[in-house]
Symmetry: C2
Subunit: 326 residues, 2 copies
């Protein structure tokens, strides 16, 4: 087992104890413990870190955080805490993951470099699912959005639609109702799936309406969104809705393309883990939104990251030769 | 399925959506989400809540908590947050858990009342393992302690021993070194198992010494601790150590006596769960230190509690009749 890679510069020379893919709450929680445990750690994130928290306006359910806080502020605290314990974030996007021939290390190829680690923690999160209807791709950034806190302000005084009925959709509708003139929530079922507290806020809001049992068939407009074509799934009735913006929150897709074939995935492509956050490969662990069965909360991501890294540490300590004691 | 119990007063009448056993970080995190989800929830704790956090002096690794905080302060924030969302804590000690004959509800008998819930979340934590050596039981509270932050101040200017080599033992030794005159750490192995950051603090401390490969054979003293009899497990050499206090941190035992026979336990009596925090009984979930494979951190307990309660909510919502929409 060699502790250098084929190339011989900087981080590429180092055999890390663990490579953490993703700088969201799961990755940063793991990074905090990795630092305290003096693991040689590389946290890779192609977007500068923060993950989905960058798009969250108000967090009031993260345990211990009694005052409401923004997503960027909370995740920045976690990053600072991680750096305080000596774990740094490296800006690079992982593009390929392979297991070395001797099965003793994992190689991650990024856009800017190649990295090797004795173990890998997949904390790469998830991204928004698209509607896949005509007009959606063409009008992205021209009225079609997947982030209300990013784009809501562009629609001040205008009418917008929110598609979806889960936590995120309803939360974002409430947020938008304070920013724009009017919000129509379009949901394929006849009731919301969101947390009750959030539902109540939405249902009590004077400028939020609901279109139940409805789906978007197409997004209309040439250079910018002008409206939606809608179908009622129970009556098959068709209608049109005039809006200048449409915010899509219809679920998430895991960022697992780069580990396909390396670890077992569930039918929706999330990584299957046990309660220790172990995947089907002994050197690969997963935590947060990317793992099968995640409840997709900041608190659960942080918990997963902590559980994963301490089991990784145990795995490393159990190996011969053990990791260097620094 | 009835929504009252045999008795007919106060809480005993109510069929809860979930009974949470234990008011530590796992239970409070679950309580926060239960409140936001408008579940009818009862949190039972016989000791007033806080769990093992009540005994922790300094926490600097809870993600998002950038400034160090005491255990009681952190857990108090979680309790306030839970109460803000409408979940209250009830002071009672669960003594017996049974599943109703129709398997539709769980009954918890406490010292002061009887409670029923459609589901149960076991977040009852763990307690300190004892050495089980002569003198230990007799001298508890007279020099034998399991909590440095509770009892350390009594030993100002004196010499004490700490037994154990894990995170808790070494953390508590560092804490005690600032309070007492001198600390001897007695550990059965030749190296510590604690986090590296904590090890370094302990090894750098001028008034902490280490007795490696050693175990306590007995605790000496009539009305108060006067010393320890010690055996080196490698050389079999015996020695005596003059101390007025001994702090024991040799692992934890799960509080699972009341669910024996109801759910599968691992060989150390921790509750076996899957990654959703489901036990072998469909209406019973477990979270935090009480569950098998817990890494015993505040962050992981909070994550477990969040994962458990959102899966409980899904279980309740999937049942017919669904829980009342309030």
């Amino acid at each position: 087992m060699s502790d250098t890679t084929a190339t011989d510069e900087g981080q590429e020379q180092v055999l890390q104890d663990v490579i953490i893919l993703g700088g969201g709450p799961a990755g940063f929680a793991a990074g905090i413990y990795a630092g305290r445990g003096r693991l040689k750690t590389l946290v890779l994130d192609g977007m500068g870190g923060g993950g989905q928290l960058n798009t969250i306006d108000t967090i009031e359910n993260f345990p211990g955080q009694l005052e409401a806080i923004t997503g960027p502020d909370l995740v920045d605290k976690m990053r600072q805490q991680m750096e305080k314990f000596g774990t740094e974030i490296t800006f690079d996007q992982a593009e390929k993951v392979t297991v070395d021939d001797d099965a003793q290390a994992i190689t991650v190829e990024g856009a800017y470099g190649k990295y090797r680690g004795r173990t890998l923690l997949l904390a790469s999160g998830a991204r928004h699912r698209h509607l896949n209807v005509p007009g959606e791709e063409k009008l992205q950034g021209r009225g079609v959005s997947y982030c209300a806190t990013c784009d809501g302000a562009f629609f001040k005084g205008q009418r917008v639609a929110v598609v979806g009925g889960g936590d995120t959709a309803v939360k974002e509708a409430v947020y938008l109702s304070r920013v724009v003139d009017h919000v129509t929530v379009i949901h394929r079922r006849d009731q919301l799936r969101a947390e009750k507290v959030i539902q109540e806020k939405a249902l009590a809001s004077e400028n939020i309406d609901f279109l139940w049992d409805s789906v978007v068939e197409s997004i209309e407009g040439e250079d910018a969104v002008t409206g939606l074509k809608i179908r009622n799934v129970k009556t098959e009735e068709k209608s049109e809705l005039t809006v200048t913006g449409v915010f899509v929150f219809v679920g998430i897709l895991p960022n697992t393309d780069i580990v396909k074939g390396l670890v077992n995935l569930d039918p929706s492509a999330f990584v299957v883990v046990d309660a220790d956050m172990r995947t089907s490969h002994p050197r690969i662990f997963a935590a947060g939104d990317v793992r099968s069965g995640s409840v997709r909360q900041i608190a659960s991501a942080v918990g997963d990251g902590t559980t994963a890294i301490l089991n990784i540490q145990e795995h490393l300590d159990s190996e011969t030769p053990p990791r260097e004691q620094s």
